[in-house]
Symmetry: C2
């Protein structure tokens, strides 16, 4: 979390029922809409990303309506878990972990089952470091009049995401990744044509009732106490993204990802995903080295926190996150540290990982 944002968190929070705070919230909402590439509504919620995912399910699913969850990792599975928890009749379209979902397969599933009204998918699947082509998925859903909901928690402000131009009906996002805030604020945005998708009889809803939130959206009022300090910090984060320029932010993440991949490969690891995202690089350790040992050594010898595998990938991969305020030197440093770890743990290290990262940054 950058210092400027942390300073904003430390400001004396204004009362939320003041004109000054309402103006701040309206400004943040407009800037978020720009960031999402939408002319539609953006709702901010006091919750983490999963709260916004639940908000999508309970606000979109009419009684009896059926859904399709696209599942290729822990966060895709979360959509299926949410649908089950809310007793939404649904199908699952599984795809191999570490691969992107196939738009043609989605099209076939939708053609075979015209009652699948809403499709839930994941843009950047953090558990596998994989990016889905949600623009291609949206072509299929839009052509068939279905609603597409995209979890963009780890893709917004990392990868390009053009909600309206790509035809994404609903996008959910959290604060603690590309937006560089601590966790505690989540957003849900509705494309302009999807405005009515939350109206009518839906799942029981109150705290996450978006029709209630809509009433105050234009004035900067919220039905329940908003996360005031996070909104102030988000204002700063959005200003930082504007100052850098969104294209430059995406460019930086692309270079970061390419550099870390090259560094990881030079350190003897293999890339887990066949469609790697720019948010997280998932690496399989060199033969004979345990992923958990690399994670531990990175923390203990280098002071770097990377994640292990989740779900069925537990013990099989490590995941280097590079969303948010990271740059060239971070990519080089983590690459060098990775190579030190794999070498210390007995793997042959083929190349200078730091140099590989530097070169990939330049070439990306």
């Amino acid at each position: 979390v950058p210092e400027r944002i942390r300073h904003a968190l430390a400001e004396p929070p204004p009362h939320h029922r003041t004109d000054a705070f309402r103006a701040t919230l309206r400004g943040v909402t407009e800037a978020l809409a720009t960031l999402h590439g939408t002319q539609g509504e953006v709702f901010t919620l006091a919750a983490s990303g999963t709260g916004a995912m639940e908000a999508a399910v309970i606000n979109l699913m009419a009684p009896g309506a059926r859904a399709l969850a696209v599942v290729g990792g822990v966060f895709g599975q979360r959509w299926a878990d949410l649908l089950r928890a809310h007793e939404v009749p649904h199908e699952v379209m599984p795809h191999a972990w570490g691969t992107a979902p196939d738009p043609a397969e989605l099209a076939a599933r939708l053609d075979a089952d015209p009652d699948l009204a809403v499709v839930f998918a994941t843009h950047s699947e953090t558990s596998t470091g994989t990016l889905a082509d949600v623009r291609a998925l949206a072509r299929e859903t839009r052509a068939r009049g279905r609603v597409l909901v995209v979890d963009a928690v780890t893709s917004l402000a990392v990868h390009p995401l053009e909600q309206d131009a790509w035809g994404l009906d609903v996008v959910v996002c959290g604060s603690q990744k590309g937006l560089m805030l601590p966790p505690g604020l989540a957003t849900l945005s509705l494309a302009p044509w999807a405005r009515r998708a939350i109206e009518g009889q839906r799942r029981p809803r109150f705290y996450f009732d978006l029709t209630r939130a809509r009433r105050g959206l234009a004035t900067g009022d919220t039905p329940f106490t908003p996360p005031v300090s996070h909104v102030l910090a988000l204002e700063v984060a959005l200003a930082m993204l504007r100052e850098e320029g969104l294209a430059a932010v995406h460019d930086r993440h692309r270079r970061l990802a390419h550099a870390v991949r090259a560094g990881g490969l030079a350190a003897g690891c293999r890339l887990f995903s066949s469609a790697p995202s720019h948010a997280v690089t998932a690496l399989e350790p060199p033969a004979g080295v345990e992923a958990a040992a690399i994670v531990r050594r990175l923390r203990e010898a280098h002071g770097m926190v990377v994640a292990g595998g989740q779900g069925e990938l537990r013990g099989r991969i490590l995941r280097v996150g590079h969303m948010g305020a990271h740059g060239h030197d971070d990519a080089v440093a983590v690459s060098a540290a990775l190579a030190e770890c794999t070498a210390a743990l007995g793997a042959p290290v083929a190349a200078d990982a730091a140099q590989a990262a530097r070169e990939a940054w330049g070439a990306a």
Copy 2:
């Protein structure tokens, strides 16, 4: 929000899946249990207080089970609204706004209707500045084997609250009042004997599913990303409450409330509540003066933010909040400012409001 707490918010947030953060969360959870006076479980949620209220409803109400909402203001009404939103069969026990609910009436309602399994009540009703005797309510619920849920959002760390000793099955709380944090963290605590109250078939639940949260409670793990910075800040807030001493914190709030009431009376206002809380003082303006005019002048001429009335009290009262980090000088200052406003707005001011506040502080 005190400076020490704001500094904690500005610290670089640790990743939540680290031993250091898990230890912090466990420590905070234990300190909260002490603060609630319970040997039971305390769950922290990334949400505002209403989220924790919804968590209570969906985790406690089995299909078909009936509830009773005790309603004497906006926040009591919120219980009824939540029950309706979740299609929980329920009754309402209304009591006049500005009065405390009558335990004998509750007993009669419960005797007349043995199927009212869960009672939802409000400890400090912020919309009217009224305190309920939840200990007396709990005597009636406990004697009849019913579950009592208490909204303590604006009473915890203001008024004494002894969850286990008083027999309160469930207590919900938010971060932004007595706990002195910005909004964004809420808690729900279960008395030790109420552990099973959230088990079995319940309302559909996922983000707020406490059985899921329970699995990680002992280790400091949370099912979804916790509000990391708020947890760090809460650690500081709980340390501050311990340093001052909880009895001294309650004593300070009692003096604050008495001082503001005396100041308000000296300024020509009348006390709205017949059972005033120490969290908020609700005042009716002097005859011929509009409440909104006082609120406006306090803000514009004195830089003080007080609230107007909510719901059916809109335009009829003003509400001076004095939860959290306030003291003698604040009570005197707001009293003097109130008197300046009422005098400027044409009301006869009977006495020296600052002096009245000082005397009441000493005598309370």
